[in-house]
């Protein structure tokens, strides 16, 4: 059992932190919210040069050959600072290509992802519920000769308006089991039959509605096997959930720090408000919750790192992250009083991202079902019945 960062991880975290401090101060975050693209191409280029997009990709594809844990630590720092960028969706498209892609697909796509030349995103969820159940995938893909024709609409697709490629979950056949008959497609986002509209989210984080109006996709662009896309989606969702948790952890840590600093500086009744137990105990609760989240996230990430991902650990981490990030923001704002309610204060930037994080890769209700299913299967230890 070892809770320490390796020396390389310490150096990496520090360099990420310094980069973000310089490249992405809060006024930049604010201006990117109003920006049409929603990210800074110059920063993106530098991030790619630093190897962030290809942290986990092997060197033969232009990556750094790092571990999944490194990715989690990267996302934690990004969450602390808030960096509006298509990094997470792009990385989450690269992972299944590496795992399930053909040699040709890997060679064609991965180097351009690692170099930052291309932006990728995931098109998974659909109306009316926009949840991650298999039954929610209705977008139709029918085979015509050597091509599939995609028809339907995806919603809450991050950065689709600037993406080069979309990784799309579509239904290729109707089966009794909704997890069957799903196929993953690599889709050129610039296809004229694709219509993208940016959804006005509170986070102004450029999630889009993407309409597929009879989009023709060559058979070669199927990722993995036809009809077996759900396995790939689960692969993506598990990694996506952990990385999103890491980002939420970073955000919660940042909000705690902001609130704690404020409680030390803000004077009322001739003393810092942090000397009042009403405030201090709230902060103590926040610290307990942030610590309580941190190691659940690290554990879930570490398990993926050592190639034994645990569905249970991942769902536990996401449930906790959903609860903690929201609560830390609410408590943080209350500690600030009215200033915390304003556009000019940073804490609102974090609060406005709570819902986007909560619903990404599964809300608590979905993950509690996963946990409950695992509990149903679980057999507690019983020394009296063992050999």
């Amino acid at each position: 059992m070892d809770f320490s960062y390796s020396e390389e991880q310490e150096i990496f975290r520090k360099s990420v932190r310094e980069f973000l401090k310089k490249e992405c101060p809060k006024d930049k975050v604010r201006s990117l919210e109003e920006d049409e693209k929603g990210y800074d191409p110059e920063t993106w280029r530098k991030m790619a040069e630093l190897g962030w997009v290809g942290v986990i990709l092997p060197e033969e594809y232009g990556g750094v050959g790092g571990e999944f844990m490194d990715l989690a630590l990267l996302m934690e720092e990004i969450g602390k600072n808030i960096l509006p960028s298509p990094l997470l969706p792009t990385i989450l498209c690269s992972l299944p290509i590496l795992e399930y892609g053909t040699k040709k697909q890997k060679e064609e796509f991965l180097p351009k992802i690692a170099s930052g030349e291309e932006i990728w995103t995931l098109a998974l969820t659909e109306a009316p519920l926009a949840t991650y159940e298999a039954s929610g995938i209705r977008l139709n893909a029918r085979l015509e000769g050597d091509n599939y024709i995609l028809k339907g609409t995806k919603i809450f697709v991050p950065y689709a308006h600037v993406a080069n490629y979309l990784l799309v979950a579509a239904r290729t056949s109707e089966e009794k089991d909704p997890e069957k008959g799903i196929t993953m497609f690599i889709v050129d986002a610039k296809n004229p039959n694709i219509k993208v509209e940016v959804i006005p989210t509170a986070a102004r984080d450029k999630q889009c509605e993407v309409k597929f109006e009879e989009v023709k996709i060559p058979k070669d662009n199927v990722l993995g096997e036809v009809g077996k896309g759900w396995e790939i989606i689960e692969f993506i969702l598990q990694r996506g959930a952990v990385l999103k948790c890491a980002e939420m952890l970073g955000a919660a840590e940042a909000v705690l720090e902001i609130a704690n600093n404020y409680a030390k500086e803000r004077v009322q009744f001739d003393r810092p408000i942090g000397s009042f137990q009403a405030i201090q105990h709230k902060l103590a609760d926040m610290l307990c919750e942030v610590d309580g989240l941190k190691y659940l996230v690290y554990k879930a990430a570490w398990e993926i790192s050592v190639s034994s991902p645990s569905k249970l650990s991942i769902s536990i981490a996401k449930i906790k992250a959903n609860e903690v990030y929201q609560q830390i923001c609410i408590s943080g704002i209350r500690i600030h009083g009215a200033i915390g309610f304003t556009m000019e204060h940073d804490i609102g930037l974090y609060f406005r991202r709570v819902k986007a994080s909560e619903y990404a890769f599964g809300d608590s209700s979905l993950h509690k079902e996963v946990v409950a299913d695992e509990l149903e299967k679980y057999k507690p230890p019983n020394p009296w019945k063992e050999e």
Partner: protein, 399 residues
């Protein structure tokens, strides 16, 4: 990072489960803090202390020269977690001796004190059972306010005063007693000393204080001109505060892990019960069980983080307080969820562990009636939050 126990630690876990199988009745389950209450439970606990001592587990975290095994922090954590999970009685022999009297004597005790008291604890003898006299009627959270006086007369201290909420005083042979040796110190946390008092001394009176369920966990202890030999002073006279504070963090190092073991067992029992009764299909129950698992596993990770810090030679500052607050909150919600799952059966008095109406040996009801006490004992949650605020967050003193 590495979130797996080593083979050595897993082997210990298997050995502990072997002992459980051999020494405890099938399905054994007992609530925390109950073993001191009833005579038959206490006798069984003491017989188990002996067996644990024989295995070298009772004081495994002590150095070998004092009857320990020099076990690593991680072995100790596995032991405490498993012991709590299976409800192995006798693990702490009335709490004080194993957990803080021994380790503090090892640190600051005289050669004679070490030779006299440590073997009694390490061998699981009834004469190795201790109670701790800290709280007084006017010194609860404000411990430095203690008034019990010790006045030196020749080779003896004459002790007068009253202690309260003294756990296991009715079972203890010795009292680890905080007294005031200087009645007019410049600051009230100065002038406190620690004395070892033989509970058989003339002038010591123990009165039971039953908790609201009728359990006999704690007592009032009166000291009326009790004569204590000077060699029973621990550390320097007037420096008792530092003796206590110096070992506090280490003593609490395993609180989270034991809390985890205890809560996880209760959750596992609830899961079994929900499956047997079909309640596991109820969506509300399913989600509540999932929520409790999230909290309990979260408690486990922070408890391990504290252990990891100690294992690296760092003295944890706010972490044990954090773990305790967290445990208290987890226990409270687990108890409430437990009663909701048992429904009307949660009304049965947990004293009647084996009645035909009792579910899960009364462990849910026991926890339900215990959790308010847990959050008060050994530092209330509010006091712990003050510690977290000051030492974990660097905030000003708030009281």
């Amino acid at each position: 990072m590495d979130f797996k126990f080593s083979e050595k630690e897993e082997k210990l876990r298997r050995e502990i489960r072997q002992l459980v199988k051999e020494e405890l009745p099938e399905g054994w389950l007992i609530a925390a803090l109950e073993e001191e209450s009833r005579d038959e439970d206490w006798q069984f606990a003491m017989s188990m202390s002996k067996k644990l001592a024989k295995k070298g587990w009772l004081t495994m975290h002590w150095p070998e020269e004092y009857g320990g095994k020099g076990a690593s922090m991680w072995e100790f954590i596995v032991y405490r977690e498993e012991a709590a999970y299976w409800g192995i009685p006798g693990v702490s022999m009335g709490v004080s001796g194993v957990d803080w009297v021994g380790p503090t004597l090892i640190r600051v005790g005289t050669k004679e004190q070490k030779e006299k008291y440590l073997p009694l604890i390490a061998s699981g003898e009834p004469d190795g059972v201790w109670c701790t006299g800290y709280s007084e009627p006017n010194a609860g959270s404000d411990f430095a306010n203690i008034q019990t006086r010790a006045v030196r007369e020749g080779d003896e201290y004459i002790v007068n005063g009253q202690k309260i909420w003294t756990s296991a005083a009715h079972r203890a042979r010795w009292c680890w007693l905080a007294v005031r040796t200087d009645p007019n110190p410049p600051k009230k946390h100065l002038g406190i000393s620690i004395l070892i008092v033989d509970m058989k001394s003339p002038g010591v009176t123990v009165n039971p204080l039953l908790n609201y369920n009728g359990y006999h966990i704690f007592n009032e202890v009166f000291f009326d001109n009790v004569r204590v030999p000077v060699e029973n002073l621990v550390g320097e006279e007037g420096k008792g505060w530092y003796v206590l504070m110096g070992s506090l963090a280490f003593e609490r190092g395993s609180v989270g892990a034991a809390g985890y073991g205890y809560c996880r067992r209760i959750l596992d029992e609830l899961i079994k019960y929900a499956k047997e009764t079909g309640l596991i299909k109820n969506p509300i129950i399913r989600h509540k069980l999932a929520e409790r698992l999230v909290e309990i596993e979260s408690l486990r990770m922070i408890a391990y983080e504290t252990a990891w810090k100690i294992s690296k030679g760092t003295i944890p500052v706010y972490e044990p307080s954090r773990d305790k607050v967290y445990y208290d909150q987890v226990a409270e919600r687990l108890a409430i969820t437990g009663t909701e799952i048992l429904g009307a059966y949660s009304q049965v008095d947990p004293m009647h562990r084996d009645s035909k109406w009792t579910k899960l040996r009364g462990c849910i009801e026991s926890l339900y009636w215990l959790f308010p006490g847990l959050s008060i004992a050994a530092g209330t949650d509010e006091i712990e939050k003050n510690i977290i605020g000051r030492f974990g967050l660097g905030l000003p003193k708030s009281y």
